[in-house]
C-alpha cells in the first residue's frame, strides 16, 4: 500500500527515485513548451493557453489517479502530504508570485527547464529566485506573524464544500473541460484563427474525457475495499457455518496464567473503557482502528496468538474476522465480554459453606487467576513498555 517511502523504500534510495521522477517532470515540462517564456506568459495575453491546458490536465490526471488508488486501497490518502492552509500567507504569497510571473515570465520549475535548454532569461530568473528566497530567510522574523496567521491545518477542498473526494473530482473534470473549450475560443480569436477541429479530433477528445468521467463514476458506485471487507465480515457473522475459533474467559485466564507470552490479548473497546478496566497484559486497539495500516503487523506476525475481546462477544468475532481477513496470524475470539470477565475475576462473590464443589472450585480458580494475572501484569510493566505504533504523515512541500 502506497506511499512506498519510508516504510517500503528507504529514504536514501528515494533520492535516486527523485532524480528519475524529476527527469519525467523536466521532460514533460520541456516537451509542453514550458522552457519558453513567451509560451508561458501567453495565457495572460490570450495568444497561447498552453500553460492552462497542461497544468489543468496534469492536475486532474493526478487527482483522478489519487481517487482511484485510494478506492482500490492501494494508497493511504490519510498519510500523504497535504499542503497545510495558512490563509493569509497563501493569498499574499500567491499574489507576490503572480507579479513575479508577469515580470519574470517563469515560475521556478519552468525557469529550471529554460536554463537547462540554454535560455539566459531562465538562468537570470533562477538567480533572482535565489535572491528572493535569501531575502525571505533573512527577514523571516519580520514576516513570521503573516507566515503563520490563520492556520487552518490540512484542509481539503472537497471538505470545504461538503462533498466527497470522488464527487469533487468529477466537478473538477467538468471545470477543466469547460475551461479548455473556453480558452480555445479566446486563443483562436486573439490569433485570428478560424477554429478547425476535425471530427476525428473531437471524437478522440470526447473519448478521453468520457473515460475520465467513467473512472470516477466507478469509484462512486462501487464499494471501496474497506466497505467490501465490512460487508464480507457482516455476511460471515450471519452465516452459522463459519468457524470462529473461540474461548471463554476461564480458558483465556488459564492460558494466560500458564503461558501469557504466547498470546497477544487485544481489547477492541474504546480507549476510555480500556483505561477503566482491561484484562491484564491486554493492549488496546479500538475495533474501528483495527484495519488501520499501523495495526496490520498484529495480523501478520506468527509468534503469538491474538485473543480479541470486546464489550459484546459479537464485536470480538468482528475483530477476529478482520484479523483473519488481513493476515495469517492465529486468532481467537473470547466469548466472555469485558464486563463479565471483570465480574467473574475481580468482583468475585465469596462462596458459602453449602455451595457445590463445582462452585467452590471455580471460586478458587478465579481468585487465584486474578492474583496471578495481576502479578504477571506487574512484572511486565517493569519490562519495556510496548512501543505505540503510529504512521506519520509524509513531509513535503516547497518551503
Amino acid at each position: 500500500m502506497g506511499p512506498l517511502v519510508p516504510n517500503i523504500i528507504s529514504s536514501d534510495f528515494s533520492l535516486i527515485i527523485a532524480i528519475i521522477l524529476g527527469f519525467g517532470f523536466g521532460f514533460a515540462l520541456e516537451q509542453a513548451g514550458f522552457g519558453s517564456t513567451r509560451k508561458l506568459v501567453g495565457l495572460f495575453y490570450g495568444y497561447d493557453f498552453t500553460v492552462l491546458k497542461v497544468f489543468f490536465t496534469a492536475g486532474v490526471t493526478a487527482m483522478i489517479g489519487v481517487v482511484l488508488l485510494n478506492h482500490l486501497g492501494l494508497l493511504n490518502v490519510d498519510i500523504i502530504y497535504i499542503n497545510p492552509t495558512f490563509l493569509y500567507a497563501a493569498l499574499v504569497g500567491g499574489g507576490i508570485m503572480g507579479v513575479g510571473f508577469i515580470l519574470g515570465g517563469f515560475c521556478p520549475g519552468t525557469s529550471v527547464c529554460a536554463a537547462a535548454t540554454g535560455k539566459i532569461d531562465g538562468m537570470t530568473f533562477i538567480f533572482g529566485a535565489l535572491l528572493g528566497i535569501f531575502a525571505f530567510t533573512e527577514f523571516f522574523p519580520l514576516i513570521s506573524t503573516l507566515y503563520t496567521a490563520e492556520s487552518m491545518g490540512n484542509v481539503l477542498m472537497f471538505e470545504m464544500f461538503g462533498l466527497s473526494r470522488e464527487v469533487f473530482a468529477l466537478v473538477m473534470i467538468f471545470i477543466a473541460v469547460g475551461a479548455f473549450y473556453f480558452v480555445q475560443k479566446i486563443e483562436d480569436k486573439v490569433n485570428g484563427v478560424t477554429p478547425s477541429s476535425s471530427k476525428k479530433t473531437i471524437l478522440n477528445y470526447s473519448i478521453v474525457i468520457g473515460v475520465a468521467i467513467i473512472l470516477v463514476l466507478i469509484t462512486i458506485i462501487t464499494p471501496t475495499r474497506s466497505e467490501l471487507m465490512h460487508q464480507r465480515i457482516e455476511h460471515m457473522l450471519s452465516d452459522e457455518s463459519i468457524n470462529i475459533h473461540q474461548m471463554d474467559g476461564d480458558e483465556v485466564a488459564h492460558e494466560l496464567m500458564n503461558q501469557y507470552y504466547k498470546y497477544n490479548v487485544i481489547d477492541v473497546r474504546s480507549k476510555e473503557e480500556f483505561d477503566k478496566f482491561h484484562i491484564p497484559t491486554a493492549i488496546n486497539i479500538p475495533l474501528a482502528e483495527l484495519s488501520n495500516l499501523e495495526n496490520r503487523s498484529v495480523f501478520s506476525q506468527r509468534e503469538k496468538i491474538n485473543i480479541f475481546y470486546a464489550g459484546e462477544s459479537v464485536d470480538a468475532q468482528r475483530a477476529y474476522l478482520t484479523a483473519e481477513y488481513f493476515g495469517k496470524a492465529e486468532n481467537i475470539a473470547m466469548t466472555t465480554t469485558a464486563d463479565q470477565f471483570k465480574k467473574n475475576y475481580y468482583e468475585l462473590n465469596t462462596v458459602s459453606e453449602n455451595s457445590s464443589k463445582k462452585e467452590k472450585d471455580i471460586y478458587l480458580f478465579r481468585s487465584n487467576a486474578a492474583t496471578k494475572l495481576n502479578e504477571i501484569q506487574e512484572a511486565l510493566l517493569k519490562m519495556d513498555q510496548p512501543v505505540e505504533k503510529k504512521v506519520a504523515r509524509v513531509q513535503g512541500g516547497c518551503s
Partner: protein, 175 residues
C-alpha cells in the same frame, strides 16, 4: 546546418504525462513535486558555507539546519530538480531546442528583459517561501491531493498575474 526545432507536444498529452509523473511521485513518496524547495536548499547551503557564524546565530537557519541534519542539499527536492535539469535538457536536445538564447517580448531591450527576469525571480522566490510552495509544490501538487491551501495559492498566483498583466503588457506584446 542546424535542424529546425521540432513542434511542441500536444498540451493535453504533455499534461497527461506530467500528471502521471505527479501521480507516481505521490504513490511512491507520499509527497508531490516541487521546485522552489530545491532553490531554497541551495540558498541554505550557500549561507552555511559563506557565513557559518551567521547561520549558527540566526534562529531561522538554526531551525532549518536542525531539521536537515544531513545538510540542505541532501533533500528530496534538490535531487528531483537535478532530474528536472537532465530531463529538460534531454527533451530539448531531441527536439533541437537547446541553444543559448535570451527570449523576450518583441519591443523589449535585452537589459530590460534580464532586469525583469531577476526581479520577477526574486518576487517569485520570496512569494514561494511565504506561501510554502510555488506553482509546482503548492499549486500543482496541491491540486492533485485537493489541498485547499494549494488550490488557493494557485488561484492567487494566476489571479494576481491576470490582474497586473495589463500594466506590464509592453514586456510581452506589441500593444
Amino acid at each position: 546546418m542546424r535542424e529546425e526545432p521540432k513542434k511542441y507536444m500536444n498540451p493535453y498529452l504533455a499534461g497527461f504525462i506530467l500528471g502521471f509523473v505527479l501521480l507516481a511521485t505521490i504513490y511512491i513518496t507520499g509527497r508531490g513535486l516541487g521546485a522552489s524547495g530545491a532553490l531554497k536548499s541551495v540558498v541554505m547551503q550557500t549561507v552555511n558555507d559563506v557565513a557559518p557564524s551567521h547561520a549558527e546565530n540566526t534562529a531561522y537557519y538554526k531551525d532549518y539546519n536542525a531539521s536537515h541534519p544531513d545538510g540542505p542539499l541532501k533533500s528530496w527536492l534538490f535531487f528531483e530538480v537535478i532530474g528536472v535539469i537532465i530531463g529538460a535538457f534531454v527533451s530539448g536536445l531531441i527536439s533541437n531546442r537547446v541553444a543559448f538564447k535570451l527570449e523576450r517580448g518583441p519591443k523589449v531591450q535585452k537589459s530590460t528583459r534580464i532586469a525583469a527576469a531577476i526581479l520577477g525571480g526574486a518576487l517569485f522566490g520570496f512569494g514561494s517561501q511565504l506561501a510554502r510552495g510555488c506553482t509546482s509544490g503548492a499549486a500543482l501538487s496541491g491540486m492533485a491531493v485537493m489541498s485547499f491551501g494549494g488550490i488557493l495559492t494557485m488561484m492567487s498566483i494566476f489571479g494576481m498575474a491576470y490582474g497586473v498583466a495589463f500594466f506590464f503588457r509592453k514586456l510581452w506584446i506589441n500593444k
